[in-house]
């Protein structure tokens, strides 16, 4: 045992000495997005400017197994249907898109090895993923290798920074943008001010919503009387009910919205206005199961969806329905639509890159992705995906409020498009 003790100490000292020889050369990148988006800092600078002529490989790390696989599988169905439509329309300037998926089981460790496999083994030209933890695990390597990670389905604040992460973009609206729009909506409804209670998930997304809302109401007549974490929804609901707030803002994800709606329903609390974030959009999984408790609950949306009555006969909606139905997906699923939208914005960036001076190269694609003003056919009129380097890194900045009708099981518009600007 004595030998082992000395052994442990010796190893520790050796490692410490070895460590002293190392240097921490870390630091943050400075300058503009244009400077940051340079091939000079890349592992293989030549590959960054090389034009893609044979096939464009989109590599996706996603949960193909595990509890999240069902929902994420639908997202991927939507994305693949959109890429397939692009191929049917002649590809990107004649270059066909192929999709390679790797299973990360929704764990960051596997996303980390996946990004290496997708880049080094699968020779992916463009990447994408779903979930903030996945982007965290992938961003460093793909930025180092200068392979675009486009329109990740996440909304992590740090990845709306093209100076620090020049090769990474996200397609979901930032929490700061969405909560600013929610603050505007509340201001419109209560011009003389109102007391708001907030229930937020203690995870990263929930905290982002919470902090963003607090920032958005600064200088307004809106007063946040209580911000309670959603640990036990029943307790959260009763605590917030006691505040007497007229408005309840739920900063949760998916099932949080359902459990909070159920909790306030059971508590018999009926705030005048209940708002949930756009990620809780799925009617089948979130609103329908809540029954009466979801009646009148409002949500901000930006898609024309088949489940919205006014867009049932819209040309873009019909094209979407045909394409995803042919792919065996459910067009009424918000997950399928989310995947389609991600791929749609990506296809637009690829087409713009192909038409640019840099051509369909990695750098051309990334420049195009950072400078888009795209009125997607499936976006509600007045909403567009608009980004412009570090001056405007947020894609979606406008929304239209809808309220759930528990009787008809449909969303009804309850106002015009609101901009977060």
């Amino acid at each position: 045992m004595r030998t082992s003790k000395y052994g442990v100490v010796a190893v520790a000292i050796t490692l410490a000495l070895a460590g002293a020889c190392g240097t921490n050369t870390g630091g943050t990148t400075s300058g503009s997005a244009e400077d940051a988006l340079s091939s000079e800092n890349c592992a293989d600078p030549a590959a960054v400017t090389e034009e893609i002529t044979d096939e464009l490989v989109v590599g996706i790390s996603a949960a193909l197994s595990g509890p999240a696989a069902q929902a994420i599988g639908q997202v991927l169905q939507g994305a693949e249907a959109r890429f397939e439509l692009a191929n049917q329309n002649g590809g990107i300037d004649g270059v066909e898109i192929s999709v390679i998926k790797r299973d990360d089981g929704f764990t960051p460790e596997r996303a980390k090895t996946n990004v290496q496999a997708l880049i080094d083994q699968d020779q992916a030209d463009v990447l994408s993923t779903l979930g903030g933890g996945q982007v965290d695990a992938m961003s460093d390597y793909q930025n180092e290798q200068c392979v675009p990670l486009l329109n990740a389905i996440s909304s992590v604040p740090k990845y709306y920074d093209p100076v620090q992460f020049p090769w990474t973009t996200q397609d979901l609206p930032a929490a700061s943008i969405e909560e600013a729009a929610i603050a505007r909506l509340i201001e419109e409804r209560y011009p003389d001010g109102v007391e708001v209670a907030m229930a937020s998930n203690p995870n990263e997304s929930g905290q982002a919503y919470s902090e963003a809302f607090e920032a958005a109401i600064e200088g307004t007549d809106i007063k946040l009387v209580k911000n309670e974490p959603i640990v036990d929804p029943a307790t959260t609901a009763s605590t917030l009910e006691a505040t007497g707030a007229k408005v309840l803002n739920i900063g949760g994800i998916g099932t949080d919205c359902l459990s909070m709606m159920n909790a306030i329903g059971r508590a018999g609390w009926k705030p005048e206005l209940v708002i949930v974030p756009s990620n809780c959009t799925d009617a089948k999984l979130v609103f329908e199961p809540a029954g009466e408790a979801a009646d009148g609950v409002e949500i901000l949306r930006w898609f024309k969806e088949p489940i919205l009555e006014e867009y049932e006969d819209d040309e873009a909606v019909l094209e979407y329905v045909d394409a995803v139905t042919a792919a065996g997906a459910d067009p009424k699923s918000s997950y399928v639509l989310s995947g389609w939208a991600m791929a749609d914005i990506t296809v637009n960036a690829l087409e713009e890159a192909a038409a640019s001076d840099d051509g369909l190269s990695r750098i051309g694609i990334m420049k195009a992705a950072q400078s888009q003003d795209y009125q997607a056919p499936l976006f509600i009129d007045g909403v567009s995906f608009s980004v412009d380097g570090e001056s405007d890194p947020f894609g979606i900045e406008s929304f239209r409020p809808y309220a759930w009708n528990a009787e008809t099981k449909k969303f009804d518009p309850v106002g015009e498009v609101i901009s977060a600007d």
Partner: protein
């Protein structure tokens, strides 16, 4: 036709192949050790030729294996079932992350501190083992595992809270003396993990052959008996958990350097990680030396393999079924089963083993003995075997 009684049958010389006894310190033993060392070096070198992706997977296996060695020390060797090792893993990971980001430490310099913190937390967690045992102690560790992500969220000034910590590659540049660039970080981490794994495995091997190691096994197998032999059971339990925490904390530090993204929500430091470590330990073989490596290899590569057979939730089911089949047919773990098979052919005995000391003479079984064993003594010559003693290198896997 004559009948053979049980007694007669028992005294009959075996005709099956007899195991070779390999005496420690003998020339043959040294040759085997040299071959093993050469094999390890060869494997390490082969690893450097892998693609970045495969190398990264092997690094993940090695890091998980180190964490499982830590768990194995407490659970496999000492019988203290821990469901909270994800927290000890997290302590090491966050120690490394915070020291790199907030205190500008060189990454490798954070590892001894991650180890020390893991040791300290392990000691604290081990204290309840003095009063409670069995599943009740496991519940204490379960509480630790549940509490850890909440603690991370609560102390967000240090830990980044729910948003987590992102250690970017420029902070993880290999030390200059390695001559490696930032883009060769994967090779550096592979090498570091490989050396770490070998060193940790050797330390644990030596520990288990020491008095403390015997005491640990005694605590697992018969606490009352070992106490009556004068072993301080309380000290053994607490020390074991401290050492276990130290090793798992060290693995956590390596994990932070490898993945670079730490979050309380990603499953890296939740009970999911604890279950992964426990699964790896039992699949590989609890209380065996090579079990952690084999189990980690299975838990890293098997999900990838099953996802190639089919996609969607079914691949998860296939993964589960494969694990059940493995456990069903090899309840002692893969390493445990391999050990049983290997012992049919060769057994390592201490240098003072009677078989190793006796002069060479032939026996009635042409080189074997009544129990059918052959031995290779100090000179490498075959020896007449003596009584069949316990193998000193036995890992206790046959429980």
């Amino acid at each position: 036709m004559s009948t053979v009684t049980d007694r007669e049958r028992a005294t009959e010389p075996r005709t099956e192949r007899s195991p070779v006894l390999l005496a420690e310190g003998s020339r043959a033993y040294r040759i085997v050790v040299l071959v093993i060392i050469a094999g390890i070096i060869g494997l390490a070198l082969i690893g450097t030729t892998l693609s970045v992706y495969r190398m990264s997977q092997v690094t993940a296996v090695l890091i998980t294996a180190i964490a499982v060695i830590g768990l194995n020390l407490a659970t496999g060797y000492t019988g203290l079932l821990s469901i909270g090792h994800s927290a000890l893993f997290g302590v090491g990971a966050y120690a490394t992350g915070i020291l790199i980001l907030d205190y500008a430490y060189s990454p490798i310099l954070t590892l001894p501190i991650a180890t020390a913190l893991g040791f300290a937390v392990g000691l604290i967690v081990g204290v309840p083992a003095l009063r409670i045992r069995g599943l009740y102690f496991s519940l204490v560790t379960l509480a630790l595992g549940i509490a850890f992500p909440e603690i991370i969220r609560r102390f967000d000034d240090f830990t980044g809270g729910a948003a987590g910590l992102l250690i970017r590659s420029q902070f993880l540049t290999p030390p200059s003396w390695t001559g490696l660039t930032r883009f060769e970080r994967g090779l550096w981490l592979y090498g570091l993990s490989f050396v770490s794994f070998v060193v940790v495995m050797l330390l644990v091997r030596n520990l288990m052959r020491s008095r403390t190691g015997i005491a640990m096994r005694g605590v697992r197998d018969h606490e009352v008996a070992i106490r009556s032999n004068g072993v301080d059971v309380a000290r053994t339990k607490v020390l074991t958990f401290g050492l276990s925490g130290a090793i798992t904390g060290y693995a956590g530090g390596l994990f932070a350097m490898n993945v670079g993204a730490l979050s309380p929500d990603g499953g890296s430091f939740t009970l999911v990680k604890s279950i992964e470590l426990i699964t790896a330990m039992f699949i590989g073989g609890a209380g065996t030396l090579l079990g952690p490596l084999i189990g980690s290899t299975v838990t890293v590569f098997l999900p990838e393999l099953t996802s190639t057979w089919t996609t969607g939730p079914i691949s998860g089911v296939l993964f589960g079924v494969t694990l059940i089949v493995l456990v069903f047919f090899m309840p002692e773990g893969i390493a445990g089963r391999l050990q049983i098979i290997a012992r049919r052919f060769v057994r390592v005995v201490p240098p003072d083993h009677p078989a190793a000391r006796r002069p060479t003479t032939s026996t009635q079984n042409s080189g074997g003995n009544a129990t059918g064993q052959k031995s290779v003594a100090a000179g490498g010559a075959e020896q007449p075997p003596g009584p069949n003693s316990d193998d000193a290198s036995s890992e206790g896997s046959s429980r």
